[in-house]
Assembly symmetry: C2
Homo-oligomer: 672 residues x 2
């Protein structure tokens, strides 16, 4: 561990630096007449302490691998982050960008978004996510460190810092993640808790009076309290340094502040949380803080001081580059592997060992095929890291011989998330945000997507290649009954932009689903997998999954009818087609494992699979019909379930709800 | 407070009673070859203690108002509950029912479901929900008690007991709810925590090593530990009595048990959590526990002892009936009001004060209309109880003059949930489960349905008339950007069975939306409300909302084109229709505030609104097109947003994404 360089400053410059944050926030929010000035004003001192005295980062290379990560979990306070990026010299946030705060096309949107602004590590705003993502960042760092660092050569070595507020601490997802982080002893995770006693509804006394530090202590965290976060920069810095020195536990530092500090009439009120100060109050704040500068004016001494970060950052990266060079010469194989990861390149032939299936092969549940896939390519894809939310032997997410990531065993790559679905998704996002080639995956039952969809939509929004292994994908799961049987969940997920939902119909399609999921590093994939077994199809093929939908089995000439199936219901379509064909109908069977990918194909291909002229179409999927009318129109039909399910053996459920060959045939015939 | 009657029993009968639970579970799960024997075997002693010595309930009247509520939060252990219901004499669970465990049409489904089995207070299974629902039950009890009890007459007075496991304690929703319960000081909420150290992935040591009692203490709970939950019934009973005596805080009793107690080879392993013991191990368990009875055989002394509950229950209810009669004579007005609530009758004319709007009235945001509605009918609808997840002044969920429900002020009916969306939904469910006429509502931003959809689907499944007030319902919310802008959320919610999603298009429709929501006591309603203002329409009417969709504005003869709009986009349709009409098109405008209700209308009505022959249709909604093809088919189109949004002023967002009159006109014309 090389200590981060620190700088002695005189307190006048410190004050200028801190107030520069405050007034950039005040001015930008006044100009846009929209935003959250309270947090930047209250947290400017701790931000100064962290960013000026502790944080190791390189403003001129926001992607430098070994930088400390900073997560603004209280994302509404984004003007704090934009001010920091600007003041420390990031090219991504100019003064002009700050003046465009919250405007169309700007790099300073209303909440921090990784895909808009280099230097933003994590997309935040929905409360509780950032701190949970940070747990994923810390896991990634610990894992790579344990894997690549040598007693004589350290190339992975950074902290993950978080700034969170009362809101983040009230959200259940952060409780789950903090409990997991405590269990795992993530010593390089340090959270600053902005204890300002104000949320939108007013004083936290109306709803949130728990002892937060005691709770984190119960999780196994190291906790500290800085009583005066408004002016005591030295105390904040000491607390951060003390937290860094505790390496076996994550740290929480409660920093008591005044929201909207400096505003004579609005400080310490909910009024300053989420609304512009207005011209008059901004002027009074200038007077109170003795700030004689104009709107968007940063005094030169502040710039000068802040921008020492550029030199420090360049030096830090240069020093790391030297370490890496030394590592490369001493450990060439490990270095090559490390650098492959950072380039995001998959190992050559990673998928070569995936099996191919014919109808003669025993039919298995797709969750079992998924297990076989993970165990076929997993050993040769060391960047794959993940686990399950306490359903390992149901989701079949384990890889033989891969041990559990635990405190002191961070090189292992199986993650026991506990019964914490929401945190699992957020942690997987965090691992992806680390942007170091790791491929995160996690399993639970499909229906429990409902517990984590808040984080899943962020996987999609932030273009994170997370793989969700969601088993027990229909009423076919049987006895557990309607609380566990998804009916609406596939529709829920398909409605999310930039998320691939793949429901493979046999062994080959499951292999293909993994090829798609592993190679899609800029969007998340949901694998919807069955509890129950199904046959392998004659014409399925792994590579066809990338097309989204394809003709599995055709008739001569133009079809009278097209049966469209997914997952376990594909075989029903094939059997119904046989019966209908025997009765003289020209029937095509289309397998549609991934609607989103099908829609990305060109019009000619889509027409070749689903000719516009053939309007008699039946979709068969043991799920809601919601969303399928796009393919069935007014003249088609679906064999679906638009109610909740019921508790009974899976085969009985499927039959009672109409998932039988006879009902598919009858539904098709009813179209005329 | 009348103490619950207790009974002295000799320990042999106690043992028979306890083992009756165990073997009913073992045998039923063996017969169905599916289920979770571990919990009933381990928790039988605490269940005996609670149900035999403490719980006040009347098996012959499961709906007796003043019964203690028992919530099996660890719902997978449902055979425990079915055994208890059977043994204590509920008619809903016969021995035959137990033999039909997890079979089609049985009253003993794989997880407890209120709508299948009288005596089941709460539908559980998805972990963490039950304990959170229990917080709602305790709020309901505290509220009604504070409102109706008199110094000389107590008619509302029961405890809410919960049995929860490690899984429930890991879920974030339970953390949120427990923090809220601690804040509110819900002294009559008592949770037994089955500390058995085993979850599906094995020992909790792999993921869950926090100090649970310390955490609850940090929330403000009273905590205790019973070290031997396997045999020390007296200690469990003492702990429950001690918890009852602590009236200013909720209580958690950690009871350390052995999962699958009695099974020589499977006890204390994950193997007994969720799989049948099998015939052989069941036999060995019989030997170990010296149980000489056959399958499904309950020894007579056990029945005799357990069924004293019937007499105790009848006496308890009779005594309460006397109290109620006395109350009725002393406080006739209050009694009438109390009994009205219990009958679930709305006050006559509750909606008489709802305003009516014409186009001349100022256009407001539907969230503002919602505020006006709540403030018009809320004062006259005292059973309305709710609040917001810390967005009161954004959701506009407050009712003037209604103060906050707080410790010591439980008669108040505004709930500050804090930034705890998931717990809010679960607590609202709990208030509805109390089944005492209360009408629960809660607000957050529409996009944060993603944080609580796990609980919302349970509102729908369990037929709970919760009202979700979800504002900021599209990209029209503007500057907060894509993390806060729902695009897929309406589709997510519409895909859930038995949930009404209403997106009103002006003032009259907002009033109508509340009429639907308040009168639908067996299904939840989502009100999707705008941040931004819109015009009032000439032909809108509150009562038309109940039709789901209706012709807002028609043309002469058969329309060439139908524009279908919802919410803020309804006015776009009207304006586009004007322009298209001026160009000679025959255009109908259909307002579709609630797709689900429209689909419940008869075919003739639906045909009258959307004639099958008119296939040129354009849906206009600032949301995903997902699901709308049911109405647009292959020949229609939609003006929708199928990507994420962006941060900019709302009007700019709407314009950039194509929500303009010009684009609606152009889209319509493109249909030919």
């Amino acid at each position: 561990m090389v200590a981060a360089p620190t700088t002695q400053v005189d307190s006048h410059v410190e004050t200028l630096c801190i107030n520069s944050i405050r007034f950039l926030a005040v001015d930008a929010i006044n100009k846009s007449n929209s935003g959250h000035p309270g947090l930047p004003m209250g947290c400017a001192p701790m931000a100064f302490s962290l960013w000026d005295k502790v944080l190791r980062h390189n403003p001129k290379n926001p992607q430098w691998f070994n930088r400390d990560r900073f997560v603004l979990s209280a994302g509404h306070g984004c003007m704090l982050l934009y001010a920091l990026l600007h003041l420390t010299g990031y090219d991504s946030v100019t003064l002009e960008d700050i003046k465009q705060f919250r405007q169309w096309g700007s790099r300073t949107p209303g909440h921090p978004e990784t895909f808009e602004t280099p230097g933003v590590e994590v997309t935040t705003g929905p409360l509780g996510q950032g701190i949970s993502n940070a747990v994923g960042l810390a896991i990634a760092e610990a894992h790579l460190g344990a894997k690549f660092n040598k007693p004589d050569a350290t190339i992975v070595d950074h902290y993950t810092y978080v700034l969170m507020g009362d809101g983040c601490n009230q959200e259940g997802v952060s409780s789950e993640a903090a409990s997991l982080a405590g269990h795992l002893g993530l010593g390089k995770l340090i959270a600053l808790y902005d204890d300002n006693h104000i949320t939108i509804d007013g004083n936290t006394g109306v709803s949130f009076t728990e002892d937060v530090l005691k709770r984190y202590e119960a999780y196994g965290w190291h906790v500290q309290h800085v009583a005066d976060g408004n002016t005591d920069v030295a105390a904040i810095t000491r607390a951060i340094e003390a937290a860094k020195a505790v390496t076996d536990r994550p740290s929480l530092i409660k920093v008591t502040t005044t929201i909207g500090y400096g505003s004579p009439n609005k400080a310490n009120t909910a009024g300053v949380h989420g609304a512009a100060l207005g011209a008059e109050e901004a002027e009074l704040t200038r007077q109170q803080l003795e700030w004689s500068y104009g709107a968007f004016e940063v005094p030169e001494p502040a710039y000068e001081h802040w921008r020492q970060a550029i030199q420090r950052g360049a030096a830090a990266e240069a020093s790391w580059n030297e370490s890496l060079a030394a590592y490369r010469s001493r450990y060439p194989a490990e270095a090559a592997e490390f650098e492959r990861l950072l380039r995001g390149e998959l190992p050559e032939g990673w998928d070569a060992s995936l099996p191919v299936f014919t109808p003669e092969d025993k039919g298995l549940a797709t969750r079992q095929h998924s297990y076989n896939a993970l165990n076929a390519f997993g050993p040769g894809l060391p960047e794959l890291i993940g686990g399950s939310a306490d359903l390992t032997h149901s989701n079949l997410t384990d890889i033989k011989g891969e041990a559990s990531f635990q405190k002191g065993h961070e090189a292992n790559r199986y993650l026991h998330f506990g019964v914490r679905e929401h945190a699992m998704a957020a942690v997987l996002n965090g691992i992806a945000y680390h942007n170091s080639g790791l491929i995160p995956y996690g399993g639970t039952f499909l229906v429990f997507a409902g517990y984590m969809i808040g984080a899943m939509r962020l996987s999609a929004l932030s273009q994170l290649g997370v793989i969700y292994v969601l088993t027990h994908d229909s009423i076919g799961l049987g006895e557990d009954g309607p609380t566990h049987q998804p009916v609406e969940t596939l529709a829920n997920l398909r409605a999310i932009p930039n998320l691939l939902v793949i429901r493979p119909g046999d062994g080959n399609e499951t292999m293909g689903a993994y090829k798609v999921a592993v190679t899609n590093r800029k969007r998340p994939t949901v694998l919807a997998l069955s509890r129950q077994a199904m046959a392998n199809q004659a014409n399925s093929a792994a590579e066809k999954v990338a097309l989204g939908g394809y003709v599995l089995q055709d008739c001569d000439g133009t079809p009278d009818l097209i049966l469209i199936g997914t997952g376990t219901e594909l075989d029903l379509c094939v059997k119904a087609a046989a019966q209908l064909s025997a009765e003289g109908k020209a029937v095509r069977v289309v397998s549609m494992p991934c609607v989103e990918l099908f829609e990305e194909q060109d019009a000619a291909y889509r027409e070749s699979v689903l000719p516009a002229a053939v309007r008699k179409r039946v979709v068969v999927e043991a799920s809601s019909s919601f969303g399928w009318h796009k393919y069935t129109g007014f003249d088609g039909a679906s064999v679906s379930i638009d109610s909740f399910g019921a508790s009974a053996p899976g085969g009985v459920c499927l039959e009672k709800f109409g998932f039988t060959v006879d009902n598919v045939v009858a539904t098709a015939k009813a179209l005329g």
